[in-house]
């Protein structure tokens, strides 16, 4: 071929290279990532699906175990939705706080079979594993003002079996989840409301897409927010 032909080949090759580079950079613009670590009264799979539908364009991962949360954190999510006490333990700042009836905190209850438990007297308490072995034990101790042995579970539905099998004297639970536990049981479950309140779910922004994700969360359908105990986000 003549020079003209060579130039044409070069131009074609250059265009092809440019197109492949463009395709490569386009595919690298991955969806913003939201990591959710909350204990709710439905399966994490179902919870994740609801959030995914409500937050189109966001890659949502919902986990229920602290070890899965720690592993997922290493994948650099743009935002994290969890309890403020978890954010605090990971040195993350709250950017968006869930509220219910105007408060950013909620009450917890100690629940036992047949009679209201005495926080100072219970020897073994079942609790949601929020912060791992040591962190959750410290959390329970602060809530009760006592140092019972703590049996940890990673799902709300696993608290009831601890009472059914009499593995614990009582369970510690956010008060709003008590009706779900009661509805699954014919045991006479009696609660003692605890004085200390704990922060409702909140969002920390970690990456550049964090603020957009927060904005999306603040507009979640009310019934979805209510699965997290929230009726407004500020």
């Amino acid at each position: 071929m003549t020079d003209g032909g060579s130039l044409s080949r070069t131009a074609v090759m250059g265009a092809a290279l440019g197109l492949s580079l463009l395709a490569s950079s386009t595919s690298q613009a991955a969806a913003p990532k939201l990591l959710v670590y909350l204990h709710v009264s439905l399966k994490q799979r179902a919870f994740q699906g609801l959030l995914q539908t409500a937050l189109p364009g966001v890659d949502v991962t919902a986990v229920g175990r602290i070890s899965d949360f720690d592993r997922a954190m290493s994948e650099s999510p743009d935002a994290v939705l969890t309890l403020p006490l978890v954010l605090s333990a990971k040195n993350l700042r709250v950017q968006l706080q869930g509220q219910r009836s105007g408060s950013g905190e909620e009450k917890y209850a100690l629940v036992a079979a047949d009679s209201a438990p005495d926080p100072a007297a219970v020897k073994v308490v079942g609790a949601l594993d929020v912060l791992g072995r040591d962190g959750t034990s410290q959390f329970v101790n602060r809530m009760l003002g006592a140092t019972p042995k703590v049996e940890r579970v990673t799902k709300v539905e696993d608290l009831l079996p601890l009472l059914q099998m009499q593995r614990v004297d009582a369970i510690l639970i956010p008060q709003r989840l008590l009706s779900d536990v009661k509805s699954a049981s014919r045991i006479n479950l009696v609660q003692r409301e605890l004085p200390k309140q704990i922060g409702l779910p909140a969002v920390a922004s970690l990456g550049s897409a964090g603020p957009n994700i927060s904005a999306g969360i603040s507009k979640l359908p009310l019934n979805l927010s209510q699965t997290m105990g929230v009726d407004a986000w500020h």
Partner: protein
């Protein structure tokens, strides 16, 4: 990991020998090393998806405090593998997964010259309770999901009252069923029992099933191999369950829930990662007790479960509660 014949601890100077069917190779499936840890937990296990989930639960809980070693044990003749693992790692505690592994460890204990053994936690073995723990210095977690948990799960899904559960069992499991019934009574669950022979035929089983369905609101199928042979499934269970009156049927094996054959309506199985975490809790109890078994240690029941639902069967025969599908881990459909 390099697999070494367990009877030949050092490669150097080890005369090559022909591989025989009884040769067991020492192989570590996984390790978790903690530079600041003094103690090692030896986990003896076959390598299956379920045991690896239990391992992950153990590792996630224990790795911050201890070294962990997962040692492959393939059958009940693997005494030498366990012996080698103990020799190498001097574990402070041992976890044994499944019946053949426990049998191999039993064999090791019987033949060991030094009779001081570390405390043991047993998981994933059939119908485990204190009376059946043949290993000395052991505690553990039963692999069967208790009936009380099974029915609690069923009540969340099916939109009709479930007050009486039917179970068919051989005489050998009468004690197990009785204990399950006593626990289930706490949730006002009545248990209707049909006892069949130790080696029932299909006709006997099918008659028992028909009687049971007339008296109970649901059927609980035990993980008893003697009642779940392919012949009994084909000639008794499937015909019996696929005729009216329809009874929700709860099984303890995922393979028994399939929209293609309409056996189990739903399966309730231990959550294996949570089972590992529960076993880790027993290891922590042992550690807190100076690496000896606490005197009040009792075998436990598994707390956490996963559920699988045959949606095709449910749609055809039963009514689900409104939010039922959000309470199920896996939904199978045609």
């Amino acid at each position: 990991m390099l697999a070494v014949p367990a009877g030949c601890a050092l490669l150097q100077g080890c005369a090559p020998s022909p591989v025989s069917p009884t040769t067991h190779y020492y192989a570590e499936i996984a390790r978790s090393k903690n530079a600041s840890a003094k103690e090692t937990i030896l986990v003896c296990m076959p390598e299956t998806p379920q045991t690896m989930e239990v391992w992950s639960g153990l590792r996630d809980e224990l790795a911050k405090n201890y070294n962990l070693v997962a040692l492959r044990v393939e059958d009940r003749a693997a005494r030498s593998v366990i012996e080698e693992g103990i020799r190498r790692h001097h574990p402070a505690s041992i976890v044994l997964m499944n019946n053949p592994t426990v049998a191999a460890y039993n064999d090791y204990q019987r033949n060991a010259s030094n009779k001081a053994f570390p405390p043991v936690v047993v998981v994933m073995t059939s119908f485990l309770d204190a009376g059946r723990l043949t290993v000395s210095g052991a505690t553990g977690i039963s692999y069967e999901v208790p009936l009380i948990t099974v029915v609690t799960n069923l009540r969340k899904l099916i939109d009709r009252p479930i007050d009486r559960i039917g179970v068919i069992h051989r005489p050998e499991l009468a004690g197990f069923v009785q204990r399950q019934a006593a626990l289930a009574a706490r949730e006002q669950i009545g248990v209707v029992r049909e006892t069949v022979g130790s080696s029932p035929n299909a006709s006997e089983l099918k008659r028992a099933l028909r009687r049971l369905k007339e008296r109970a609101g649901a059927v609980w199928v035990l993980n008893d191999d003697h009642l779940l042979s392919p012949k009994l499934i084909a000639e008794a269970w499937l015909p019996g369950l696929n005729e009216r009156p329809w009874s929700p049927t709860i099984v303890g094996a995922a393979s028994l829930v399939s929209p293609l054959q309409s056996f189990g309506t739903f399966a309730v199985l231990p959550d294996h990662a949570a089972l590992g975490a529960q076993a880790a809790s027993l290891v922590f109890d042992i550690a807190d007790n100076g690496w000896t078994l606490p005197s009040d240690a009792q075998t436990q029941l598994p707390v956490s479960t996963t559920t699988t639902l045959d949606l095709a069967q449910v749609r055809e025969r039963f009514a689900l509660r409104n939010d039922a599908l959000r309470q199920v881990d896996r939904v199978l459909d045609r």
